[in-house]
């Protein structure tokens, strides 16, 4: 198990900075940013850490990488204790911070890579091979000589991921890497991470509040809210178990008021009409197949076009946010 966390807890004392400003109302309080997280990740997995802002994602990442010490709980990453064995762990993980740069700001990108190589003492041949591959797949050659501070965000993130992988770490941790990127850049990054995970067996742990990141890249999703894990399973299972109804959207040639009543339409839980009755929406549960429903509707009215809408993972996950805390 490459990440093993049990009962992870991290408290902060609010109002610590009271000397700089007036004491916040209510005085000093202890707040648990992470409140009992269990996490077990095996080598080779691709896990998405999902949650709204302030859920505790970044705090968990900081604990996993040795930046913060847990207030309580057990934690082992790559078999090491992140805080006491920080530097040893640093050799086995690659970290990409979305909001902070791990590259050297005023040096050309290539120099940053050379520095990373020196720091991790990567042998020349391996370094060349990995670098060439990243340059190739991520298209870095056009800005290898540009100082990092002049790079666009998309270019910089490509550089950051390359730098994080140069020492071939078994675990790659990314904290909100796609924030602020345009769609093309995001997709490129995801594709690369998918490849790295699938071909090289690098375990990828990604925090994000961008759901498509998770959909495109991760098989497993851990949903965090208010410091606790509220869901931890693979994507399809999530969708099946917690899915809302699918929706059939039918465009009719002429309005068909006979469809107002739902009799004869098994498994349909609701219906709505739009555009003066020319468009009808049917919500239906998993027991019904879309095909049979379409056939039924076709028997009653003349169909011009149909669309079947799946529940988005967004809807699924949103049911977890703000849901009342389970007792106990």
């Amino acid at each position: 198990m490459i990440v093993h966390a049990e009962g992870l807890r991290r408290e902060f004392v609010l109002g610590r900075r009271r000397m700089l400003r007036r004491t916040p109302p209510g005085g000093r309080r202890r707040v648990a940013a992470v409140d009992g997280i269990d996490l077990r990740i095996d080598a080779g997995e691709a896990v998405g850490f999902l949650g709204p802002n302030g859920a505790g994602k970044s705090t968990t990442i900081k604990m996993l990488t040795g930046i913060l010490v847990p207030t309580a709980g057990q934690l082992r990453v790559c078999g090491l204790d992140p805080v006491t064995q920080r530097r040893e762990l640093a050799r086995r993980i690659g970290v990409v911070f979305g909001q902070r740069s791990g590259l050297w700001w005023d040096l050309p990108l290539a120099d940053s890579f050379a520095l990373v190589r020196a720091i991790h003492r990567v042998p020349e041949a391996a370094y060349r091979a990995r670098l060439d591959r990243c340059v190739d797949v991520l298209g870095l050659s056009e800005f290898l000589a540009t100082p990092v501070r002049q790079l666009s965000l998309g270019q910089r993130m490509r550089g950051e991921i390359t730098a994080a992988l140069l020492h071939a770490p078994p675990l790659l941790v990314l904290d909100e890497p796609t924030v602020g990127l345009d769609l093309v850049s995001k997709e490129r990054l995801r594709a690369f991470l998918r490849e790295v995970n699938a071909q090289d067996g690098v375990t990828v742990l990604l925090t994000t509040h961008d759901l498509p990141d998770v959909e495109r890249l991760c098989r497993r999703v851990v949903v965090i809210d208010r410091g606790r894990v509220v869901a931890d399973s693979d994507l399809d299972a999530l969708r099946t178990r917690f899915a809302g109804p699918r929706e059939l959207v039918v465009d009719l040639v002429t309005p068909a008021p006979e469809l107002d009543g739902l009799d004869g339409l098994p498994g349909v839980t609701g219906t709505a009409a739009e555009a003066g009755g020319l468009r009808r929406r049917f919500a239906f549960g998993p027991e019904t197949s879309a095909a049979s429903l379409v056939a039924e509707v076709a028997r009653r009215a003349e169909i011009r076009d149909i669309t079947v809408l799946e529940p988005s993972i967004e809807d699924v996950v949103r049911t977890f946010y703000g849901a009342p805390r389970p007792a106990g």
Binding site: M19, L20, R21, R22
Partner: protein, 270 residues
């Protein structure tokens, strides 16, 4: 009538700036404490060196132990009030171009900065001047003013010193319009200002030629003059006149340089 009302409005607006300057610095309590700590450390070191020079007669260049201690502790207290060294905010705003926003406002930039600075100085008098002076007065021989009128004169001299130093800082910041990176100018000021103003060693200790030269320049008006007024040393009228003349000269210089800088900004597009 309308003119008078308009004038009152303008004054009220500037007064609000004074208050804003006061409030802004009131919230940085810990920073003030840290600054006071530094003042105390340097005060202790400086007063030790200067007292060691007094020698067997107990006086030097007209300074006895009490006058020396007063000079050092009052100087440390005045440092933050006149704000001898600023954080380069004006130069920064010029460099980033934000200065265009300031210039576009319906106020007079020089007057606005002056008003804000007065507010800041007012707060500093409470928090940064009084503690070192009390500290020095309690632990060292200290010379308080003998005549009640001196307090009034000191207040006036302090006010002039604040404006004087503010204008120098203003002019230094304006150099950023011509030298985009005016770090060199500012660091030159940072290293030499202490000596030139009479903060580090009383100007009375300097050889005659140095004293005469510096006496003509505005710098002593920032530190040495208010301290001299407080210590009732020298001709009061001459001291205040020296400050007043330089304040007027620098205010005018500030106006001229600002208008040239604005012109340059408009013509060059920043």
């Amino acid at each position: 009538m309308r003119g008078a009302v308009a004038l009152l409005d303008v004054l009220a607006a500037y007064f609000r700036l004074v208050r804003a300057g006061f409030d802004r610095h009131a919230s940085y309590r810990l920073a003030s404490l840290a600054g006071l700590f530094t003042n105390t450390v340097f005060g202790l070191l400086r007063v030790a060196v200067l007292l060691a020079v007094l020698g067997p007669t107990g006086t030097m260049a007209g300074y006895d132990a009490a006058a020396t201690a007063t000079y050092v502790w009052l100087g440390q207290g005045l440092l933050a009030v006149v704000l001898l060294w600023d954080d380069g905010e004006l130069a920064q705003r010029v460099r980033t171009g934000d200065i265009a926003l300031d210039l576009a406002r319906p106020w007079d930039l020089q007057a606005a900065l002056l008003a804000t600075d007065l507010g800041r100085a007012g707060h500093a008098v409470l928090v940064r001047l009084i503690p070192p002076v009390l500290f020095g007065a309690l632990l060292f021989p200290f010379r308080w003013p003998h005549a009640p009128a001196t307090w009034l004169a000191f207040t006036g001299s302090l006010l002039l010193a604040v404006v004087l130093c503010g204008q120098i800082r203003f002019l230094l910041g304006l150099t950023a319009f011509w030298l985009l990176d005016n770090r060199g100018v500012r660091s030159l000021w940072a290293s030499t200002s202490g000596v030139l103003c009479g903060l580090v060693v009383p100007l009375g200790y300097f050889p005659d030629w140095a004293r005469a030269t510096l006496g003509v320049l505005p710098f002593p008006g920032i530190m040495q003059t208010p301290i001299d007024v407080f210590s009732e040393r020298g001709d009061l009228a001459a001291l205040l006149a020296h400050q007043l003349i330089w304040v007027l000269v620098l205010l005018l210089a500030g106006r001229l340089v600002l208008s040239r800088a604005t012109h340059r900004l408009v013509v060059q597009g920043g």
